[in-house]
């Protein structure tokens, strides 16, 4: 069964994209990530032009994050104040990121930059999470204290910065600068690589801000809803690259998947979740990295100005 995509200008296999949307939605609900870092590469591999994949994935992230965020909200796992601080940074980063996309595309280095960004961040974060999660699981087995328990004496450089704010839900009293910077960086990267950036924000909140894992997931989803929404509008306005028909297929399947994912996540332990997410992140990293180093079968490639974009 096929349906023609008006912006991508190609027919799409309905079942394929419904399956893709529900799988990514499930993982999104499970891990509290938007799922864009999985969805965008999957869309590109299945033949969707890169700009459309990046623009449309943002719309799907909104949907799966809304439903994921609400599921987390019901468990009281969202730190609104922290989310708003992250969001302020995210909006600024996203605006700069969309401009950066245009510059990189003109230079012909967009695809390279996207691939390098994915490999670098997925590789570093995946490895760190893997090491930490394996360690945590081993400690849990030997009945030791987990590493992430925060004591009054545990202060790093993050806690010495000015502009301190109290985040009640996260039980933190820290400077607003690190969350702002994390939000800005994630927003910037998210606009460029077509991902909400949860896969960067979640570890940053856990390891840098020392937020409790359960609060991190809800708060990250809360922030992603708004940043991805803004990114969708900007991609549509500046790059004409959002396909609403493709988005609809991914959204409908994604929101359902996200609900099952969130339910499954509630039954898994934090360190198990982190181990699974780490494995997934590394898998995507290796797949994208392979294309960078493997000799292409044709050294030449061609691009056209996209859609009705001038």
């Amino acid at each position: 069964m096929h349906i023609y995509l008006p912006i991508a200008e190609m027919p799409a296999n309905v079942l394929l994209f419904l399956g893709m949307g529900s799988a990514v939605g499930f993982l999104s609900g499970l891990f509290g990530v938007g799922g864009g870092f999985l969805l965008t590469p999957l869309l590109i591999f299945s033949g969707i032009p890169t700009p459309v994949a990046v623009g449309t994935a943002a719309a799907q992230i909104v949907a799966s994050s809304v439903s994921g965020a609400i599921a987390q909200w019901q468990r009281n796992n969202v730190d609104i104040k922290m989310g708003l601080v992250l969001l302020a940074g995210g909006v600024a980063g996203s605006v700069i990121g969309v401009q950066m996309v245009r510059i990189l595309r003109l230079a012909g280095q967009f695809d390279l930059f996207v691939a390098l960004a994915y490999v670098t961040f997925l590789g570093v974060i995946g490895t760190l999470m893997l090491i930490e999660a394996v360690g945590a699981i081993q400690r849990a087995r030997t009945q030791q204290q987990p590493l992430l328990q925060r004591g009054s004496g545990q202060h790093n450089w993050v806690h010495r910065l000015p502009l301190k704010m109290r985040f009640h839900r996260s039980k933190l009293y820290i400077s607003a600068i690190p969350p702002l910077a994390i939000g800005a960086f994630v927003g910037f990267l998210g606009a460029i690589i077509g991902a909400g950036g949860g896969f960067i924000m979640v570890p940053a909140m856990i390891y840098l801000l020392r937020m409790p894992t359960n609060i991190v997931i809800g708060t990250s989803l809360f922030q992603i809803v708004f940043v991805a929404g803004l990114t969708t509008v900007m991609q549509a306005a500046e790059n004409y690259s959002v396909d609403v028909v493709l988005a609809l297929l991914l959204i409908v399947s994604g929101v359902i998947g996200a609900q099952y994912g969130a339910a499954a996540g509630a039954r898994l332990k934090g360190e198990q979740l982190r181990l699974l997410l780490a494995a997934l992140v590394l898998l995507v990293c290796v797949r994208i990295g392979w294309d960078l180093v493997a000799t292409p079968d044709d050294l030449y490639s061609i691009t056209t100005s996209f859609g009705g974009a001038p």
């Binding site: 023609y4 008006p6 439903s67 509008v233 549509a236 959002v242 609403v244 996200a258 490639s301 100005s305």
Partner: protein
Amino acid sequence: MTVLRALSATGALWLALAGGAWPLPSDAAAQTLARGHEDSRRIVQRSPKGAPAGARAAPQPLPRETVEADVSSRAIAITSAFTGTEIVVFGSVINSRQPSAEAGYYDVIVVLEGVPEPVVARRKSNVAGLWVNTDAFDFESAPSYYAIASTRPIEEIAEEEFLEAHAIGLDYVRLSPAARSVIRTEPAEIKNFKEAVVRRRQRDGLYLKADYAVIFIGKSLFRASIALPAHVPVGPLTARVYLFREGEVLSTFQQRVRLEREGIELWIYWFAMRHPALYGLFTVMIAVIAGLLASAAFRRKAAA
């Protein structure tokens, strides 16, 4: 074509002169004159590639051959169910002197071409172990789609100069390099980039070539069916039909094919292009509503 038209005009002049010189100029006589003139031209310019057996016509008082053609659908609607289509270009040789469909007396070339659009070709090279785009070449225009069908390989039908002048064949697709790219690129390199555009488009199924795809069904009737892939860029197409005999073009025909979005596809496209920000907001709204609906539905399910 221009040469041919000029010659026909000369023929008409001859006719007028003949009419004046002789008291009873019949139509047949006039045609003999015109015919004879054309034949002599053909002898002078006879193609070295040779003609199919039985192609040598005795100089008879016969009217000139012309081609009339059309396409199976002049307007193709792109709806949500569009999965590619097939365009049949059919036509007929008026005053055909071909004894049978198999005689191979005439050659026909059919070209179906999309709109010209700017294209950037890039080449990768290995930089510190990574494959990176290092060279780029801009084309002002390249056809978004190009399909050619013929009764036999086009190199056997016509001279290179003719094919090049009329952009017939994948070797002669009209690719206009941008001046800014030409001044900083070696001629040999330009050739590489041009070949790359055709090769990539061929691989994507947007540039097609089919020798022997134009088939004569009778003495004068021919047809060719050309595949239009589902991902063909939306825009008008032009079908060109060339009728050849012994390397000489006898007649040509041209027909436009409209390829347009229709119904909901047109509406969405129009919305996305005219009101992009509103369209973006609309998409986000759908996403938010879908997310909320799913949450509500699952909460009710969980509560029950």
